[in-house]
């Protein structure tokens, strides 16, 4: 099985330096890319059908194609930003790529920047990832020394300066426009779109923000071609995907598998199935802001469209498993507390609606719930959950676990209210 993203990653997770990376064929993609025109590079990415791995699955080539090029672009900088904020609950895939193979990301970023004509690139990384940040900084210095970054890269005439920015760390900083605000030194509030960052982003200039995993794919695609990448996927979606599993499974972890690998394979084959004595009740397929799926969905392919049709989202592709010994109300409340806490406070439904939902869940979990609370929660789902009701996607994402829990675990909510206590706590 071809595992381009993790081919340099060892079980002991030791990092690979520039020498090792090059010995393993690294920066070959860069050589190929710099020999192509930016338009040709863009075409390869478009043809590869690569979709953004940050959660929304937006086609990367299409996103890049909105960046004004040549004469269409007013004079000034253009920027490429790598989104390494990775604060989605249950998500730890980018960390692996960042810590263990920094040059794969740097190479992908140089090619991405070259394609869109950016002359400055930032890696916006959550400050808890200090090991990764340090390795990236070292990697950048090494690249600069070897003429892979800086002015006139490898004699191509193309110049790129790359910087690592350690974020002060909030979940909302991962939202690409809030990330840009934060990078500018402002409050990390998302921005209204349009204008899209591709046209007016960092410092008002054309900017592309991509996820770590997305960018880590670029060099491989440029080097080995779009067809190769398309062939990697088991379904319509192309490439491989970093999948992960957390929760009460035998072997929690993170694996690179072909895009479209069935959930059951990930959960049972790689994560080793449920831990002894625990039953699967459901799972969030792609991080804390995706809708629950249940055992009925285990045979679905883990790709964007399939999971979307099932009523959830592939998100970051990292499953969070709910077992039968865990109270779903408590589970959802815990997430709701997180999202309420992480709301940037800009728009009303999220800022005030999430704490309100959290308070209702808190009452239910503590046995103070009232029958009409379920209506309140349904009302909240409608109020906060619809895209467009809020200023950014944080709040709708935050409502996804609740909305699906009300569907799949309604009886558990009712039990709390009827019994005036949490049945799980009562059992202990």
């Amino acid at each position: 099985m071809d595992r381009p993203l993790t081919r340099n990653i060892h079980a002991d997770r030791r990092p690979i330096d520039l020498r090792g990376y090059r010995d393993n064929g690294g920066y070959e993609g860069l050589r190929v890319g710099l020999g192509l025109s930016p338009a040709d590079c863009l075409q390869r990415i478009k043809d590869s059908n690569l979709r953004g791995r940050g959660g929304a699955g937006f086609p990367t080539g299409l996103k890049w194609s909105f960046v004004p090029m040549g004469e269409d672009c007013s004079p000034g900088h253009k920027y490429l930003i790598c989104n390494a904020d990775e604060m989605e609950p249950g998500t730890f895939k980018d960390r692996l790529l960042l810590e263990c193979d920094p040059h794969q990301l740097i190479e992908g970023m140089i090619l991405a920047a070259y394609t869109i004509g950016a002359d400055v690139a930032y890696i916006f990384i959550r400050s808890e990832y200090h090991i990764a940040a340090q390795r990236l900084r070292e990697g950048i210095v090494d690249c600069e020394r070897e003429g892979l970054l800086g002015d006139n890269i490898q004699g191509s005439g193309y110049s790129l300066h790359m910087h690592v920015h350690a974020s002060a760390g909030r979940y909302i900083c991962g939202e690409e426009t809030a990330l840009i605000s934060s990078l500018e030194g402002k409050r990390a509030n998302p921005r209204a779109k349009p204008p899209f960052p591709q046209v007016s982003g960092l410092w008002g200039r054309p900017t592309i923000v991509n996820n770590v995993e997305t960018l880590s794919n670029i060099a491989h695609i440029i080097e080995r071609g779009p067809q190769w990448f398309n062939d990697l996927g088991l379904t319509e979606d192309a490439g491989t995907k970093m999948y992960g599993v957390s929760g009460r499974v035998k072997n929690p972890g993170c694996w690179e598998l072909p895009m479209g690998t069935p959930i059951r394979t990930v959960l049972e084959e790689y994560a080793g199935g449920m831990a002894d004595g625990y039953e699967l009740r459901g799972f969030l397929p792609g991080g804390g802001s995706t809708d629950f799926l249940t055992a009925d969905h285990l045979d679905l392919a883990m790709d964007y469209d399939t999971i979307g049709k099932a009523g959830s989202r592939l998100g970051t592709g990292t499953l969070i498993v709910l077992d039968d010994a865990t109270c779903p109300v408590g589970f959802v409340k815990n997430l709701m507390d997180f999202f309420a806490q992480e709301s940037c406070g800009f728009c009303t439904p999220c800022r005030d609606g999430l704490p309100w939902s959290a308070q209702v869940l808190d009452d239910i979990e503590n046995g103070q719930g009232k029958p009409e609370d379920l209506d309140t929660l349904e009302r909240q789902v409608e109020f906060i959950g619809a895209i467009g009701n809020t200023h950014c996607a944080l709040a709708p994402g935050a409502m996804e676990p609740l909305q699906s829990a009300l569907k799949y675990f309604r009886a558990d909510f009712e039990a709390h209210i009827n019994q005036g206590c949490c049945p799980w706590k009562a059992r202990q």
């Binding site: 009303t348 999430l354 619809a386």
Partner: protein, 922 residues
């Protein structure tokens, strides 16, 4: 135009507006919080949600935010749709989670946008059972009260304070539902425009501290349209009264002048009207120096007897109305009328008037200033002399941002997007001043030069625009700057040159006028704005006219003396003379009669004092710096024996048998007479409708129909309610009865509309949101472009030559303190400082003084001036800047050379700090 459908009804509306704007302009009720007509949209509160349908077939629609959705042809919306209504109601419910049940004790109550929107959305019952978040309030200074628990996190305050007004010390802090709007620590808000927060904040977080402390329910205020008297800009205000006290000043929208905002001097500067020390009865001086109160008949008798003397003269005032000055001049005759400026002020005021009258350039109102695309400020500290202009300049420098936005097809109201796009891109603003100014942060260049050199910089820019005799400045950096300035001005479509009377230097103003003329000659729409000293400086200059000798100088008159009777109209002569001059006043004048509302140094020397009504209790016309005549109306009748100045003067003129006044009985007739006899003032009758004006046959009521407790107010005295005072002089009534519909802009006493109790009701009075008032814009412009650009070149002024051990005096204006009346207002008094003198650090070292020490200021004319030292590192070398208009600096003249010497007897107000703590000037 676009045709759109809202709830099955078709409307033809302006393309490119946002739907919220459109709905409000159409008179449809759509609730909102974060959008502001002057600040555009950000989409934060989500209160303005409506349903938008893709096409005819679309039955479901989706929620969009009205304020973020441009209207375009064929668009289909619903405000009434169930889903939209439910959403908007839930928004209010969410905002109310943490909102205290404060309405009964809240200063905003009854004029609260949150109350209005709550009622409008129909939210009533809360289902939230949690605890409310609470915050600690901050002390933000004497002007603004902070009550953070009432916040609904709409971000209007910080958007206004930071983005619009350029303040830095108010910010949104923390996150999620703990967001806090305040300062990093307790302290006085630094912005000169902080007071607008009171109107910008839709809840009771930021309220008028004075009003909070002497609280009156807002619907119980009796209000009248008025004009701010604190500087020459003439912002339109509403004065609200209860119990004979001015309770608050609010903005009165004028599309051409102040728009939506005032400065803090204006908003909080009317407190002098309430001072206990105000004169209530005519007073006659007894030989022992004490005063007897008189009734007004006896007072007039005394005055008339004194006026029978041979040599009678009168002193007018740039803070008194055109009408009062006019009557005063009729009373004593032109030959004996002294306008009442100081030496420094007189030349500047009259020259400014001439230059504006004769210029070919546009003399801009504030709204036009905001359209400028390149600005040069030559030697005027606008923030401190004409504060509201500074706020407009902050908008002008953003025009390039709007142009950039246009290229991306962003609409002007997409505020956040435009700011993100343009970042720090600004139109060029060049400032030359004697030290740093408060606009430097948005300036392309700011240069510190002595006033004569500022004029030379002007000449050097002129040389670049119209190459002539090679008049270069002589310093390569300044000449390079002159080139840059000239380039920026030449490239602009609407360049603006600002100068003014601030430094008392007429050459600078002349240079400014020449620059504007040269730019006009170059074919662009150049603008020339000259800031002036006082509320009616321009009116008085137009009244007295030009011709040096005809305009008498106050101090010369006093020094030459030999006057039997001198009438002083609303003027404190002490402020306008040297110390010696003021001392001579009493010696050289046999009988001194003063008409004033306040007890001043002059009234306390007077033989007879006639108490006048303040601007809040009388009517009058003022002409602002741009030559706009505006009328103020009394908010309440003057108490006791106070009378409008015009009333006293008219009575005297009648008794004296002054022919010209024999047919004048009413205020309007004086205005008309003045307009008819002085061509330059012909337009003042148009400033406001005359007293016979009726809308729908009715007077304009000063009281809202919610006004309450009229009987109770006097119940302690008598339970019999007296007849309401009649107002014969204006179309307004001291009553709740009348019609406020279709009222001309000049007569609007308050803003209210059904369901819209707060100032947000303004849009119901506008042609469309943000546009002029339906009833017409208040005021009439007296200056039209009638001039011809005189392209003859003034000679290059002489360079400033610093002198050894001598300092060149320049006035330093302070927004709080330099203006006579507003500085007496109690809240502003807290923000004023005792008189001071700014010197450079080098001078301080040479003079062996530190901040807070005393200096003795002397020359052959000046003796006995002692001022506190302030070290100002940005001050130009060789100059010393005195706090203009502060007791202690009266009589100092701009451009005088003085010697300085450490005052050995000086008592420091604060102990000296160690050298390393020594700071500059704030």
């Amino acid at each position: 135009m676009a045709t759109i459908r809202i709830d099955q009804q078709e409307y033809t509306v302006r393309d490119g507006d946002n739907l919220l704007q459109t709905c409000l302009s159409l008179g449809l009720d759509l609730p909102y919080f974060c959008w502001h007509p002057a600040m555009g949209s950000i989409g934060a509160c989500r209160q303005c949600a409506v349903l938008q349908y893709q096409n005819e077939e679309d039955q479901r629609g989706r929620l969009v935010m009205g304020c973020m959705t441009p209207v375009s042809d064929g668009a289909i919306f619903s405000l009434q749709g169930d889903k939209a209504q439910r959403f908007r109601k839930t928004i209010v419910e969410s905002l109310m989670l943490n909102h205290p049940h404060d309405c009964p004790v809240c200063a905003e109550g009854g004029e609260c946008h949150l109350q209005d929107m709550t009622v409008m959305t129909g939210h009533r019952d809360r289902s939230y059972r949690g605890r409310k978040n609470t915050h600690r309030n901050q002390y933000l200074g004497p002007l603004i009260h902070h009550e953070m628990n009432r916040c609904i996190t709409c971000y209007r305050c910080t958007r206004y304070y930071r983005d619009y007004a350029g303040g830095t010390d108010l910010a949104a802090m923390a996150a999620h539902d703990h967001i806090y709007f305040g300062r990093h620590e307790d302290g006085v808000l630094e912005s000169e425009f902080a007071g607008n927060l009171v109107e910008v904040c839709p809840t009771g977080v930021f309220t008028d501290r004075q009003l909070v402390h002497q609280y009156t329910r807002k619907w119980d205020l009796q209000s009248a349209p008025s004009v701010c008297t604190a500087c020459a800009v003439g912002c339109n205000i509403v004065v609200g009264e209860r119990y004979g006290k001015v309770k608050r000043v609010h903005n009165r929208f004028n599309a051409e002048v102040n728009g939506y905002f005032l400065c803090d001097r204006g908003r909080f500067g009317a407190g002098f009207v309430n001072l206990e020390s105000r004169l209530e009865f005519p007073a006659l001086r007894r030989p022992d120096g004490r005063y007897d109160a008189l009734d007004h008949h006896r007072a007039l008798e005394h005055a008339l007897r004194a006026m029978e003397a041979e040599k009678v003269a009168a002193v007018g005032s740039p803070r008194a109305s055109v009408e009062a000055n006019h009557l005063l001049r009729l009373l004593v005759g032109n030959a004996r009328f002294y306008p009442g400026w100081s030496r420094g002020e007189q030349g500047a005021a009259i020259r400014a008037m001439e230059l504006l009258r004769d210029t070919e350039a546009t003399v801009p109102d504030l709204a036009q200033i905001e359209t400028a695309d390149a600005v040069l400020i030559l030697g005027e500290d606008v923030t401190n002399t004409s504060p509201r202009v500074a706020l407009s300049l902050r908008q002008a420098v953003r025009n390039r941002a709007r142009d950039m936005a246009g290229e991306l097809r962003l609409l002007p109201w997409q505020d956040a997007a435009i700011r993100n796009l343009a970042q720090d891109t600004r139109n060029p603003l060049h400032i030359a001043a004697v030290s740093n100014t408060r606009l430097d942060d948005v300036a392309a260049s700011h240069t510190c030069l002595a006033p004569p050199d500022i004029a030379r910089l002007g000449a050097a820019v002129l040389e670049e625009l119209l190459p002539g005799e090679g008049q270069h400045f002589g310093d390569p950096t300044v000449d390079a700057l002159a080139q840059q300035i000239a380039r920026d001005l030449r490239q602009a479509k609407r360049p603006l040159i600002i100068a003014g009377a601030g430094y008392g230097n007429t050459t600078i103003m002349e240079m400014a006028a020449e620059l504007a003329a040269a730019l006009c000659h170059g074919g662009c729409e150049a603008m020339l704005s000259l800031c002036q000293g006082e509320a009616n400086s321009m009116g008085l200059a137009l009244l007295t006219g030009t011709g040096g000798a005809r305009v008498h100088r106050l101090e010369d008159m006093i020094v030459q003396g030999d006057i039997d009777t001198l009438l002083v109209l609303e003027n404190d002569v002490e402020r306008r003379c040297s110390r010696r001059g003021f001392k001579l006043l009493r010696k050289h004048v046999k009988t001194l009669i003063t008409l004033d509302s306040l007890d001043t140094a002059t009234t306390s020397l007077s033989d007879l004092v006639l108490p006048t009504a303040s601007f809040a209790e009388s009517e009058g016309t003022l002409v602002n710096h741009a030559g706009r005549a505006q009328r103020y109306f009394p908010a309440f009748p003057p108490a006791n024996e106070r009378r409008p100045a015009w009333f006293w003067l008219l009575a005297l003129a009648h008794e004296r048998g002054i022919e010209a006044t024999s047919r004048l009985h009413q205020f309007d007739e004086i205005t008309r007479h003045c307009a008819a006899s002085i061509p330059a003032l012909a337009g003042i009758t148009e400033a406001a409708p005359r007293s016979q004006f009726r809308a729908h046959g009715l007077r304009v009521p000063r009281q809202t129909h919610r006004y309450s407790g009229r009987t109770a107010m006097r119940a302690a005295l008598s339970v019999h309610e007296p007849k309401q005072p009649q107002d014969e002089e204006t179309p307004l009534a001291f009553s709740m009865e009348g019609s406020q519909r279709d009222t001309p802009g000049a007569l609007l006493p308050y803003f209210w509309s059904p369901g819209w109790n707060s100032n947000q009701s303004l849009h119901r009075y506008q042609k469309a949101v943000g546009e002029p008032l339906r009833g017409g814009t208040a005021g009439s412009r007296l200056l039209y472009r009638q001039g011809h650009a005189t392209l003859e070149r003034a000679a290059m002024p002489g360079a400033f030559e610093p002198r050894e051990n001598q300092w060149y005096l320049v006035p330093r204006h302070a927004i709080f303190g330099s203006d006579e009346l507003s500085a007496l207002s109690p809240p502003l008094r807290e923000l004023t400082h005792p008189a001071w003198l700014e010197i450079t650090p080098a001078a301080a070292q040479a003079l062996q003084v530190i901040d807070g020490d005393g200096l003795i200021i002397e020359n052959e004319r000046l003796r006995g001036y002692r001022l506190e030292v302030r070290i100002n590192p940005s001050l130009v070398a060789g100059c010393a800047a005195y706090s203009a208009g502060h007791a202690g600096t009266f009589g100092l003249l701009p451009g005088e050379w003085v010697t300085l010497q450490k005052d050995p007897d000086w008592q420091r107000r604060e102990p000296a700090v160690i050298a390393s703590d020594r700071g500059g000037v704030a």
